[in-house]
């Protein structure tokens, strides 16, 4: 489960590249004024989304957040429907009801929707994990929480309960150095974020969030433990938000050196090099893969832009389940 073949590794790269392209096209379209509302760039978070998501089984539950477009796609949400969601179209994942990656839940894919009230998905993912415990199914739930999200009280409540109930939950703490304009040191008192887990006797570790294999290894092991009934754990993945908080934010408050430091560790570029050096993947293979992915993404965006808006007469539909 936690070892990968070369074929899988190349596939991982494909998904990382797809994620990167999805983001690049999204950002440039929003900058051109072709978006709707706002959007949150995932640039720099590809290794976390794909590395963590790669450890999931279809029966596991996943609760990604607003920068985990890679994990949403990996979970099966088609890029065109995702773009349609950004553009408020009827065929978007939320049928025009919510924006960007918000509300992208899909029970047929064991995918839990994200809402703005951060980190409300944390206890919900715990509940999904508890359903496995309840039904004695050997599965796990994974949720992503930002560094900023970890300052909210419900983080504490969730971790405490997860350990108390020995729930099969894995919390990926995506530490991207900032919560909006606020750097970690200004929102969190503890020296290392993963130490927060110690207040609940929850096992925790830190990984390089820009190294997809390291993320995969740690998260898939944590998931395996959870499925085996050994309880919850937390993986802090250190990475960097490479663009602003949302599309309108120029992030002038981020020091250039910090960005340069992380730019040199770009997760996509890094893994591409790794594949060449270690798996002997050839440049032309990579070029072909990248070309195909770019095309797929461009087509997805074009399809979304060509999709119709929802019919206003449907506005009241679906407030209640039957």
């Amino acid at each position: 489960m936690t070892s990968l073949s070369a074929v899988e590794r190349l596939d991982i790269y494909r998904w990382m590249y797809r994620t990167r392209r999805f983001d690049e096209v999204m950002v440039s379209m929003f900058k051109q004024g072709r978006g709707l509302g706002t959007c949150f760039s995932a640039r720099g978070h590809e290794a976390v989304s794909i590395g963590a998501g790669w450890g999931l089984q279809p029966e596991d539950f996943a609760a990604p957040m607003h920068r985990n477009v890679g994990m949403f796609m990996l979970r099966g949400l088609p890029p065109d429907q995702l773009y349609s969601n950004y553009l408020g179209r009827a065929n978007g994942t939320t049928r025009g009801r919510d924006a960007n990656l918000h509300g992208n839940g899909d029970l047929s894919r064991n995918l839990i929707g994200f809402i703005s009230h951060i980190p409300q998905s944390l206890p919900v993912a715990l509940g999904a994990a508890m359903s496995f415990r309840y039904r004695r199914q050997p599965q796990a739930a994974l949720t992503v929480c930002g560094d900023g999200g970890s300052t909210a009280g419900v983080f504490h409540e969730t971790l405490n309960m997860a350990v108390l109930y020995k729930a099969p939950l894995v919390v990926v703490l995506e530490n991207n150095q900032y919560a909006y304009s606020t750097p970690v040191a200004e929102h969190t008192a503890v020296s290392e974020l993963h130490l927060k887990a110690r207040a609940y006797d929850m096992p925790s570790q830190v990984v390089d969030g820009n190294n997809v294999l390291e993320v995969f290894k740690a998260v898939s092991a944590a998931l395996a433990q959870a499925r085996a009934g050994e309880g919850p754990s937390l993986v802090e993945a250190r990475t960097m938000r490479m663009l602003g908080h949302a599309i309108h934010d120029g992030a002038e408050y981020v020091p250039d050196e910090l960005l340069a430091h992380w730019e040199a560790r770009d997760p996509v570029v890094r893994f591409q090099r790794w594949l060449q050096n270690n798996d002997g993947v050839r440049p032309d293979e990579l070029q072909e893969l990248e070309r195909a992915e770019s095309e797929l993404i461009d087509q997805a965006f074009a399809a979304a832009e060509a999709s119709p808006f929802p019919d206003p007469d449907t506005v009241k539909a679906g407030v209640y389940a039957d």
Binding site: H102, H117, P123, G127, V154, L164, G318, Y320, A321
Partner: protein, 334 residues
Amino acid sequence: MPTDSHAGDSRRITYLEALAEALDQEMARNPDVLVLGEDIGGEFGGAFKATKGLWQKYGEHRVINTPMAELGFTGMATGMALAGLRPVIEMQFADFISTAFDAIVQYAASTHYIWQGAVPWTIRAPADGGTSSGPFHSQNPEAWFAHVPGLKVICPGTPADVKGLLTSAIRDNNPVIFFESKTLYRSLRGPVPPGEHLVPIGKARQARPGADLTIITYGAMLQSALAAAEELAGEDIEAAVLDLRTVKPLDTDQILESVKATGKALIVHAANRMMGCGAEVAALIAEECFEYLDAPVRRLGGLDTPVPFSPPLEQAYRPDAERIAAAARDLDAW
């Protein structure tokens, strides 16, 4: 306290026994039903003993004791519900439901509209005052939730309804907030069918017919309204009493039908009158019954103060049969 006699069966049990029976029967019927909350684990059975015996019968697997973390455990219940379970959450007191607010009004309420994720949980919230319990153990916070799309809000006023509506709430595929009147827990007995008993959500019940005016109410105030109507009958004033039972969705049909017939409406609830659910009912009547009204629409409710502890203050705060009768006389004389 007067009793209720709308169910056809002669076995009389308390409001609290009726709700415990619904919980037990639903847990027996459907293995996906579970209960969770503070101090409900083990032999203790919760602050009001509504879950007493369930732990012994169904095991800790299905009776989950929680820390004092309302926001977290309500969110957890949402996750369980999305995964197809049917958690029944016990708030220790309805007053603490505000601690779980985000998980209810933001996450659970919006999920089906946004991504078609059904959240079939029920929150049982022991509400209501009149018992010298002070501002934080006497609240009736239904208006907050009735304003929120995606929720259903129930306020039963009789033992039969508490059983029948709790059963329906547990089987409903949406998040339901179920405000019990703890004032009635042990003080009100009534006939309750022993077997499976379902009362539809969103349907009011004419608790008493009457041609002169309509008293529209719910929860514990039903008993006060019935007492007032009884008193008025001795004065030749025939007050119909409509028990809403559910405040979201409202049974607009029955409200309008009754008020159109009597031409006069008095709305009564124990919650703060200001911006309370009664305002919506009054606004509905003002909009839809204009040509039928023979008098202003009147409302009685709690004062716009926290619920005070001391008996003389709380009596001044809370409507009662006497004040209902006085308002009804006034309307009748209009």
